[in-house]
């Protein structure tokens, strides 16, 4: 840990003005009431640029997962605004939220979360099957090719390695061409090589396919693949890094740790 001494400069303001895929404005999330009241998000305002790979980092309990859940329409918000494109999530009911997730959002989970009864290909096309629409075959082939699953499409998840399963999950998220993909610790259950592969695909999807990706992670190496890292602590955004390197992220984290200990 002693080799990382560099401290990156302030973010480049030019990048922030690009098109926005999702935006939180004064977003709050409060759990419980009275004495058990916990403020998970405290007036968070953040924008996720289109065709950008954003990583959200922060210690446990910082609110990073809550931010993702709220932005992805998985959890309700207590105050402020969360938008995917032009759609205000707070104004949507459960049905509309479900529809939004189905049509505009892709998900990648830590524990792969594939259906064991379906083949790899069926898992990939599942969101479109749910929506009852035909997948764009060319795009689908493209995605499958990119993640390198061509030979394993008829395999069931149980017949695939962890890395392969997560590649299926990545393909599932990409195949429906969502407006934004949320990834929750996508490398958490993978060895470093498989993890690197998956992160490579995500970065590639942003670069080559103009996909928007928001990833929650606590791994600085994973964050190093992102275009931008935002740091959360105690429900607030405390720092932001552009074009980070793993070392830079690690340094920043160490700084927080030190702060946490002294404060």
């Amino acid at each position: 840990m002693s080799h990382a001494t560099a401290f990156p400069g302030s973010p480049a303001p030019a990048r922030a003005t690009a098109a926005v895929a999702a935006r939180a404005t004064d977003l709050s999330k409060v759990y419980g009431r009275d004495e058990t009241r916990v403020v998970a998000l405290d007036s968070v305002s953040v924008e996720f640029g289109k065709a950008r790979f954003t990583a959200i980092m922060g210690p446990s309990g910082s609110g990073k997962s809550t931010l993702m859940h709220c932005m992805a329409g998985l959890d309700s918000i207590s105050g402020g605004s969360a938008r995917i494109g032009d759609v205000e999530l707070a104004s949507l009911g459960d049905k509309q939220l479900t529809r939004l997730r189905r049509d505009k959002i892709g998900f990648i989970f830590q524990a792969f979360n594939l259906l064991p009864t379906l083949t790899a290909l069926e898992n990939i096309t599942l969101p479109m099957d749910i929506a009852g629409r035909k997948p764009d075959q060319q795009w689908l082939n493209n995605v499958i090719e990119t993640v390198g699953l061509s030979g394993r499409l008829t395999h069931r998840p149980a017949q695939l390695s962890g890395g392969q399963q997560q590649r299926v999950a990545v393909a599932r998220a990409l195949a429906a061409q969502p407006e934004i993909i949320f990834a929750d610790e996508p490398t958490g259950n993978l060895d470093s090589r498989s993890g690197a592969e998956v992160l490579g695909f995500l970065r590639e999807s942003v670069r080559a396919m103009d996909q928007t990706v928001v990833m929650v992670t606590h791994d600085p190496v994973a964050a190093g693949y992102a275009d931008r890292v935002i740091f959360l602590a105690d429900g607030r955004i405390v720092e932001e890094l552009h074009e980070p390197t793993a070392d830079a992220v690690l340094d920043r984290m160490r700084l927080f740790d030190a702060k946490g200990r002294t404060s």
Binding site: H69, A72, L74, D75, D94, K95, T98, R99, R101, R102, D103, I105, G106, F107, F109, A111, N113, L114, L115, P116, T117, L118, L126, P127, D129, I130, A131, G132, A158, R172, N189
Partner: protein, 857 residues
């Protein structure tokens, strides 16, 4: 976390309770049956004890060939005043009551017969020195004392609607009689309690009606206290004319009656115990299934226990202890429910016209013991295999952080066993289907074969689930898209579990389908038997076979306007070689008007010339053919005993239910009848008959309450009576099987939903709406239910077909019919079961908290 854990425990408790329901129902039936039959038995015993409390010895006549029926149709007995006096003189005898008993059917105020046919009796009112008969205490009025008076039992008067002073119409045999009602009595008489009617005449009148003056049908001896019943019985016996009367002690009579009551109850008990058996049988599958699921759910916990030093045996024991406790709890509740069933059943049966003696509810300690033992043993047995599975969990599994997908265990062994058992069962049933005699051996074999087939199919169910569920999945996928596809995949995921769940429905539907098919087929057969070949419009019969219809009176029917033909039938039994037969005497000229006869040899003219006609079957049995001279010995008339009669077989006809196995002209049969009387009249009427003609016929025959004038529809309805009872039982079975099946399906679904929490969370996250989740669970439920139903109905139809062949000889008109409407209904019900069973699990699945679900381990 605590909340989730707590919720799991609660869910688990609910699941155990649902499992327990099958045991609960089974034990409830066991307890209900035992309590019911004990209660009724005890009450009946008490009633007969009350009824027989003063009877020390009963002397009854013995029917002998020579004096049974004399020309006037009345019996002659050896019991007379002289014998009564001699018995009265024996030491210890307090009194000898001389009874006269005979059949009597009353017409109610509305003209309809009262009471249950063969239970309807009349006795003599025998006043003592105080002018009253102690045996029949008066409730109202006075005892009958003149030839034109009668008394009625309280229940009878009430049922018939008569009051003191009314003129009561009744018939004993032949013409309608009327007497004035002067008294109403109470009685403990068993037949009255059981629904018969009872009329009382003075002794002379009763004797005139049934016997000869001075004769009795029974002498009832009462004694002074301290007299030895056995010794007295022996003394009485010594006084009796040889072979013409018997003496039975009061104790023996009571024992006989008790035995009869028990025999009557045993049919009911058997039915109920069958229900119990089925519930428990199905319960075994449910319990085994639940414990298997619970153990796989708890495998890490069990592995941990093994890791910290619990032995395999301790694991097995802990599982079995849990099962035992569950069994004990549910059978305790089952017992309480059973007591309720016993009380309720009686109320229901009473309301439906059954008659049971009154008495308190009897709960024997053994009943409690049996019920609890059955519940515990069944539950523990069912949990035995799962407990072995639990013991096989390796300690190392506790250390696995990622849940290893359970490697599907091979079904090869199970399938082989299933094929073997099913094969043996089917072979037995096919072998049986070549027989046509339903004797005890064949029935036992049929039961064994059915059981094997059913059990075999249960073992094979996982194998069969793949093709059948896949087929159903095609439909659900086509109709419901992704939810349908996921439902199919989920149902296929664990074939053992799917099969075990479907089994409970399968067993129920096998039984129900089997019984329905046999019932419908029998119904069809009965209809045929009652009406096939019958071209007559009315069939007139005496209510009691004993009495018959007076030939002179019958002739009046022919004169009723609108009656085109009246054909009397009167039968007599004969012996030919080793076989027996029944020859029907009839009016040959009119016969073709009421039945279609199809002669294969000879003709009706040949019969008219003085021969007999026999049915093909009868001819084959005796090796007779047209033109044969045959020798028979008629057996209805005492004077025919030992006398050979030569008859000529003039014709052979195709079996005909109307005319029976052989017939001849009346003139040929009459000499062999003790007293010519018609068993039935077949009437052909203008325009197929009308209510008015039927009424006129009744009137011509004196409006006797003994009389039945039945149209085709009436005959079919009568034949249907017993089938209806079977069908009602089927409905009961259906209800029970469905309740248990629903529980089984709910159980499995709840478990599956629990296990698939993460998948459901993911599906919700990537955009499957709550309704889609619900749909998925519901469709899985429906697919499993239909799978069970289809298997069960298939097995049921097969068993009904193969078993039905056994009725061949006894029930020639039996013919297998498939009641498609009902079968369709069963399928529909299975579908509804599926939908209902999914209600709660689907709701639960749809309500899962998405974020918790995705993160669930």
């Amino acid at each position: 976390m605590l909340r989730t854990a707590l919720r799991n425990v609660l869910a688990h408790k609910a699941r155990l309770m649902m499992t327990a329901l099958a045991v609960l129902l089974g034990t409830a039936f066991v307890a209900g049956t035992l309590i019911f039959s004990d209660t009724i038995g005890e009450a009946a015993k008490n009633a007969s004890t009350r009824n027989l409390k003063d009877v020390a010895v009963s002397v009854e006549t013995v029917r002998t060939g020579t004096d049974d029926e004399s020309a006037d149709g009345k019996r002659t007995t050896a019991l007379d005043e002289k014998l009564a006096a001699r018995i009265r003189a024996l030491p210890g005898v307090a009194n000898v009551r001389s009874d006269v008993t005979g059949p009597a059917t009353l017409a109610g105020k509305d003209g309809r017969p009262v009471g249950e046919d063969w239970r309807n009796r009349a006795v003599n009112y025998l006043p003592g020195t105080d002018g009253r008969d102690d045996r029949y205490p008066l409730v109202q009025g006075r005892g009958p004392a003149a030839a034109d008076e009668l008394a009625l039992a309280e229940a009878t008067a009430k049922a018939a609607g008569y009051r003191i002073g009314d003129t009561v119409r009744f018939a004993t045999d032949g013409p309608v009689l009327t007497k004035k009602l002067v008294g109403i009595v109470s009685t403990d008489d068993r037949q009255v309690i059981a629904g018969g009617s009872l009329a009382l005449f003075d002794t002379a009148t009763a004797q005139r009606l049934y016997l000869h003056p001075g004769q009795f049908s029974e002498l009832v001896v009462t004694t002074h206290p301290g007299t030895d019943q056995q010794a007295l019985t022996a003394q009485v016996r010594a006084l009796l004319p040889k072979d013409r009367a018997t003496a039975t002690s009061g104790a023996e009579l009571a024992a006989q009656q008790a035995k009869m009551v028990t025999a009557q109850n045993s049919a009911m008990s058997k039915t109920l115990l069958t229900f119990a058996g089925i519930a428990l049988f199905v319960g075994v599958f449910l319990i085994a299934n639940t414990f298997t699921m619970l153990i796989s759910q708890r495998s890490r916990e069990i592995a941990l226990m093994r890791a910290i030093g619990a032995s395999r045996r301790q694991v097995v024991r802990s599982v079995l202890a849990e099962a035992g406790l569950l069994g004990l709890l549910s059978s305790a509740v089952g017992f309480a429910l059973g007591a309720g069933i016993a009380v309720g059943l009686r109320a229901v049966l009473d309301a439906n016209g059954a008659h049971f003696p009154d008495g308190p509810v009897v709960v024997k300690p053994t009943t409690v013991l049996y019920t609890l033992a059955v519940g515990v043993v069944v539950t523990v047995l069912a949990a035995w295999l799962p407990s072995r599975k639990a013991a096989k969990i390796a300690p190392v599994e506790a250390l696995n952080t990622v849940e290893a997908p359970l490697a599907p265990r091979s079904l090869v062994l199970r399938n082989s066993l299933g094929l073997l058992v099913t094969g043996v069962g089917v072979a037995v049933m096919l072998y049986l289907s070549t027989f046509d005699v339903a004797d005890e051996n064949n029935l036992l074999l049929a039961m064994a074969g059915s059981m094997l087939t059913l059990v075999g199919m249960i073992i094979l169910a996982p194998l069969l689930s793949r093709p059948l569920v896949s087929l159903a999945g095609l439909v659900t996928t086509r109709l419901f898209g992704i939810s349908g596809k996921l439902a199919k995949e989920n149902a296929l995921r664990n074939p053992r579990r799917t099969a075990a769940t479907a089994s409970s429905l399968m067993i129920g539907l096998t039984l129900i389908t089997g019984m329905t098919v046999v019932g419908e087929s029998a119904q069809r057969g009965m209809d045929k038997m009652a009406a096939t070949g019958l071209t007559a419009d009315y069939k007139v019969t005496a209510g009691s076979v004993m009495t018959g219809l007076d030939p002179e009176l019958s002739k009046k029917v022919a004169q009723v306007p609108g009656v085109r033909a009246m054909v009397p039938l009167r039968g007599t039994f004969f012996k030919a070689g080793d076989g027996f037969g029944r020859l029907t005497g009839t009016d040959l000229a009119q016969l073709p008007a009421v039945t279609a006869l199809d002669f294969t040899q000879g003709s009706l003219d040949a019969v008219r010339a003085g021969g007999i006609a026999v049915s093909e079957k009868e001819a084959a049995e005796h090796h007779w053919k047209a033109g044969d001279q045959v020798t028979v010995e008629f057996s209805d008339k005492p004077s025919d005993a030992g006398k050979q009669t030569k008859l000529k077989v003039a014709a052979v006809y195709r079996d005909n239910q109307v005319i029976g196995t052989s017939f001849a002209d009346m003139s040929l049969v009459d000499p062999h009848l003790p007293r010519p009387k018609n068993d039935e009249l077949l009437v052909k009427a203008d325009g197929g008959g009308s209510e008015k003609i039927a009424e006129e016929i009744r009137h011509a025959l004196g409006d006797s309450p003994l009389l039945k004038v039945q149209s085709h529809a009436d005959l079919s309805r009568e034949a249907a009576g017993e089938i209806d009872t079977i069908m009602n039982m089927v409905l009961g079975l259906l209800a029970m099987a469905l309740v248990i099946a629903v529980v089984g399906v709910v159980n499995t679904l709840a478990m599956s939903v629990f296990e698939r929490t993460r998948e459901i969370g993911m599906l919700r996250a990537i955009g499957l709406a709550r309704s889609g989740i619900k749909q998925m669970v519901r469709l899985e439920s429906v697919v499993i239910s239909l799978f069970g139903a289809v298997l069960g109905m298939g097995v049921g139809i097969f068993l009904a077909w193969s078993g039905g062949q056994l009725t061949g000889s006894a029930f020639p008109t039996y013919e297998m019919v498939l009641p498609w409407g009902r079968l369709g209904l069963f399928l529909l019900i299975a579908l509804v079961v599926g939908v209902l069973a999914a209600l709660w699990p689907a709701r639960r699945a749809a309500r899962l908290n998405m974020l918790e679900a995705i993160g669930a381990q």
